[in-house]
Amino acid sequence: MPQEIDRMHVQRLMREGAQVVEVLPREEFEQDHLPGAISLPLRSLETEARGKLDSARPILVYCWDTA
């Protein structure tokens, strides 16, 4: 179960080199995303995550909001 975190914790993890993943559709990612984030839309998460993420580093995922 992922650990829920807030914005300040996100900024700390980013400074520490965490992998930041946006799970929204690619078009939304192209418009706006957190600095350094990579796009892994939810529908393709399972197939693409293994090839794009380093399991040895912390992974931080986000969507649009709390919904």
Binding site: E4, R7, V10, Q31, D32, V61, Y62, W64, T66
Partner: protein, 142 residues
Amino acid sequence: MYDYVGGKLDWLAAGLASEGTNATRPRAGDVARREVPTCGLEEPMRAVRERVAATGWNACVVVNEERVVLGLLRAEELQKGHDEQVQRVMRPGPSTFRPHVPLDDILKFMVAHDLPNTPITTSDGTLVGLIRREDVAHSGSE
């Protein structure tokens, strides 16, 4: 594994840097005036009017101790009252926008509602600054 519960909306609403095609569009946070005068609910209008006049501004944002926006005093309201408290004169609950909103979207609203200015806040209502119509015009959105 971590889940940023607030998401992209929380990040953008906080006025933090982002990447992407929208990052180059002028946004509210880019032109919001951080130095806008503020006052509290219980201050007497006379004192607030004098203080605001000394700054050269014609607007004042009413905030609480955490700088959460509670109301707005535009030029019209600033001329009212003497010993009355701000809360009796202010415009309560003004329309606000988040820092990440594109300027042209805000301008359409300000024109439609004939607003000379509007507060910019974070998603929890904390004041970021005030946007003035003339600032939007100078940004090239008009």
